[in-house]
Symmetry: C2
Subunit: 244 residues, 2 copies
């Protein structure tokens, strides 16, 4: 498999560009590529090129951009995933898989049953880590677009956002609210999908969300692992709405 | 959350039963439940009861079955997941998530690009481990039915099975075969879904499978992690075929 390299400054065929330090280190020290190696460069904004590795040093590398090429197609529907942060590395898994499913934005939030504190996440530089996870996942899955990872907010703030999108609230099978399945909903232009932490929403949170215009969504009849729920819900919506 | 206990010998309300040793140990030493605690008993064949923990010892416990109750509904469509074993603990994750998605059977296999050897898996008693993973996942997701975990076989054997079901072969976006999406396929009564290892099928394997009557299936346009592909494909099929 040809290595894919993120170079946000890339613009057009013929350019010779410095590879950002993190990426250069990966190419040179981990993959042990030598000058002349074929690579692919993407800019994180949806563009990709065939490219050739030029001079390398211990900490740096340059690439020469060749012809533009098509990256994996982006979904026609713009998905924002609003997801409660999970304990341990759970949110890393969610970010990795959401990127693979083609989301445009990830909005991490804290809700009543969230088991980690916002301050602890900030001290641990989690946002930067999620951005690294997103880059690694984009390379793996073939996307040339990196989703936006928004600042950590509380649920109240999430509920007030994305008014122009179809706003869906994933609910567990046992929750006593009427919920649509993806097949009950016409394909929207943009979706914001909110998914709670392990243990789900409190009754008060679900009521607030519904009051704010979020529509309950149900996917299947079994309890989903918190780490897997975004993947299952995104796969279900995309398959029903027949996206690329 | 009330603990769920697997007791395969359970048959009807009013019985007082010994809990199998593994399960008893979990109740007594991990969850530290005391006699009189409310639990739920399921038999692994789709039945579930309210129950009360009776006498416990360090290594044993009895339960008294109360009224039968409904477990999470089983999918109307019977899914068999034929999945290439993955390196590390990858197959554990696949088994866990396939149980959560409601599959009836899991058939692990070895194909050309499989990076683990069948002999190593047998020495490590992987099959027994996958059965424990399946039980833990059933408890978590609310199922009262345990899927069958078949013996490890080679791909040739997989391709010759499940002739009465719709047989689908998951292919990567880059594979040059014409592949249907779930939305292109009418809801079948039973499905056998074959998913390859990291790196996918060889061209020869794909041709053999198609020759044997397996229909190529595509889910999305990005490369899926091998551990996540079964979850995405099952979620997509179930959502399109509008199952519970």
């Amino acid at each position: 498999m040809i290595a894919r390299v993120l170079v946000p400054a890339a613009v057009r065929e013929g350019e010779v560009l410095d590879v950002p330090a993190d990426e250069a280190g990966h190419l040179v020290r981990v993959l042990r590529l030598r000058p002349g190696a074929a690579v692919r460069v993407f800019d994180g904004k949806g563009h990709e090129w065939d490219a050739t590795l030029g001079a390398t040093t211990k900490h740096g590398a340059v690439v020469a951009l060749g012809a533009a090429r098509s990256a994996a197609p982006e979904p026609r529907i713009g998905y924002t995933l609003a997801v409660a942060v999970l304990k341990g590395d759970g949110t890393d898994d969610v970010v990795r898989d959401a990127v693979m499913m083609g989301v445009q934005a990830i909005r991490p939030f804290v809700s009543a049953r969230t088991e980690v504190r916002a301050a602890a996440l900030e001290r641990a530089h989690r946002r930067e880590r999620w951005e690294r996870v997103a880059i690694a996942s984009a390379k793996q899955c073939g996307r040339a677009m990196l989703p936006v990872i928004h600042d950590l907010v509380d649920l109240r703030t999430v509920l007030a956002t994305d008014g122009e999108a179809l706003r869906l609230l994933l609910v567990e099978p046992a929750v006593a609210v009427t919920a649509a399945r993806p097949a009950d909903i016409a394909a929207p232009r943009a979706v914001s999908l909110a998914i709670g932490p392990e243990g789900g929403w409190t009754a008060e949170e679900a009521a607030q969300a519904i009051g704010a215009g979020w529509q309950p969504l149900r996917v299947g009849e079994r309890v989903l692992r918190a780490e897997a729920a975004p993947l299952v819900a995104l796969a279900a919506c995309q398959a029903v709405w027949s996206e690329t």
